[in-house]
Symmetry: C3
Subunit: 215 residues, 3 copies
Amino acid sequence: MSTSDPSSTLAATLVVLDLLGIFVFAISGALVAVRKDLDVFGVIVLAGVTGLGGGFLRDVLIGAVPPAALADWRYLLVPLAAGLVTFVHHPALGRMERTVTVFDAFGLSLFCVAGALKALDYGLGPLPAALLGMATGVGGGMVRDVLAGRVPVVFRGELYAIPALAGGAVAVVGVRADLPTVAVSVAGAAVCLAWRLLAVWRGWQAPLPRGSASV
Amino acid sequence: MSTSDPSSTLAATLVVLDLLGIFVFAISGALVAVRKDLDVFGVIVLAGVTGLGGGFLRDVLIGAVPPAALADWRYLLVPLAAGLVTFVHHPALGRMERTVTVFDAFGLSLFCVAGALKALDYGLGPLPAALLGMATGVGGGMVRDVLAGRVPVVFRGELYAIPALAGGAVAVVGVRADLPTVAVSVAGAAVCLAWRLLAVWRGWQAPLPRGSASV
Amino acid sequence: MSTSDPSSTLAATLVVLDLLGIFVFAISGALVAVRKDLDVFGVIVLAGVTGLGGGFLRDVLIGAVPPAALADWRYLLVPLAAGLVTFVHHPALGRMERTVTVFDAFGLSLFCVAGALKALDYGLGPLPAALLGMATGVGGGMVRDVLAGRVPVVFRGELYAIPALAGGAVAVVGVRADLPTVAVSVAGAAVCLAWRLLAVWRGWQAPLPRGSASV
C-alpha cells in the first residue's frame, strides 16, 4: 500500500496483508498453470503474473515505475514460493478450492482499495482511481488467463470485478470526504469482501447479453 | 489530440471527433464480446479496451503517463456508454455492421493521425511516430481480440493496418515539411479513410504467404 | 546494450550483436505467423514483437521510455527486413529450423545479459535485474505466442527461460563483484548459451507437474 501511516505497527500489518493477498492470487495462478499442464517455469510465471500483474498494470499506467514489487525482493519471493508450493502440492491445493476462493476474495478486497488509494496519491481523479483499483484487483487474473490460453474467467458471469469496483469507489469517496485513511480502507475492503463472498455463496452472476447461448 | 490550435472551435471539434472515434471503436469491441457470450463486465471491458487501448499503448511507450484518457472522465464514460448501449441493443447494432464498419474507418483515420502527431510532440522521429500512429489505430482492436480469445482480425488479410500506417506517415511528412497542422491532419486522415473504405468496398486483401491454406 | 564502453569498436560490436539477436528473434516470430496463415502485416508485426517485445517490456517496467528501439531506426528496420525475408522465403527458412534454433540461443544469451545490465543501470536490485534480464530474453516470444493464439512455448517444457535467468544472474553477480563489464557480459552470455544449446541437443526438459497428461 502506498499510504503512509503514523503507526509502524499498522504499516507492517498492511505489508503482511499485501503479501498474503499476493500469495493467494499467486496460488490461483499456479493452479491454472498446473491444470493446463504447463512446466515448472510456466507455473511460476503464472503465479507471478497473477500475484503482481494487476499492480504492475496500475503502476505502469500511473507512471510509478519501476513498480514497487521490483524494488522489494519480498514481493518477488512470495509468488515464487507460491508457485513452487503449488507445483509440488497441487493435488492437495486443488481439493481446497473453496478455501482458495475465500482467501482470493480477501486478496481482491485488499488490492482494489490499495490500488485506488495509490492512484489518488498519484493525482488521478476519483473515477479513474476507482477504475484502477478494480484493475489492480482483476488485472493479474486477466493476464493469467490470456497466457494460459483462455478467455478471462472474470468475463464469464462470475461476479468478481463489480465488487472490486465498489470497494475502490468506497475508498475513493471516503478519502475525498477527508475521512481517516484506515477507516476508509477497512470500509472499502469490507464492501468488496462481503459482496464477493455473498456472490460466491449465493451463486450470483453478472448479467449476460440477451440471446446468449449461455443463458 | 495533443496538438494545440489557435481556434478553440477547432479544438472542440477535435475532441468531439476523438470521442466519436472512441465510441465507434468501443461498439466494435462490445459486439465482439456479445458474440463471445461474455457478461456485462466483459462487454464493458472490451468496449473500453478497444476504444482506449491503442492510445494507452502509445502513451505508455512514449512516457505520456497517466494516459490522457485517465485524466478526463469523458474519455472513460464514452466507452462505458457504448458498452451498455451495445449490451442492451446488440441485435439492432449487429444488423448495422456495414454502418459500424464505415464509422470504424473514420475512427481509424482520426486515431492514426492523432497518434502520429502526439508521438512527434514527444520527440520521436518520423518512422517511430508513423508506426505509433498505426499502433494507436490498431492496438485497441488487437488487445480486444486477444482478450476475446481469437487471433487479431487485423492479421487475417483485412486491409486495415496499412491504411493507418499511410495516414500516420502522411501526417508525419507534412509536419516535417512545416505544413499547417490542420491541413496535414486532414490529408493524413483522408488518405487512411479513402484507402480503408476502398479496401472494404472492393474486398482488397493484404497478401498471404505462399502456400497458405487460406489462399 | 546500455553499458558505455571505452572502446568504440566494442560498442559497435555490441550494436551489431544486438541487431543480429533481434533479426534472429524476428525470423522466429515471422515463421510462427506464416504457419498460422497470417497476412503480411501479421508476419511483420509478429517479427517486430518477437524481436523487440522483450526489450519494450523491460523498458516500460524500468521507466526507460521511449524504448531505445523507438529512438533508433535501425532497430525498427531489422525486424521489418526479417519479416519480409521470411514472408517471401519461408519454405527455405522453415527447413533451416535447426540453424534458426542455434541463432535464437545466441539472441537469448545476448538479451538476458543486456537486459540485466540495463536494469542495474536503472538502479534495480540484483534479483529484479536478473529477472528482467530473463524477461528481456523470453518476453518477446511470449507476446508472439499470445498474438498467434497459442500458449507460450516457453511454458511447455522447453528449457529456455532458466538458462536466460542463469545468464542474467551471472552478469548481475559479476557487476556487483566489480568485475569488468566485458568479462561479466561474456561469462553471462556463455552460461546461457551453453545451457540452452545443451538442452536442445540433449533434449533436456523443464519439469512438469505430477500427474500431468504430458508426462
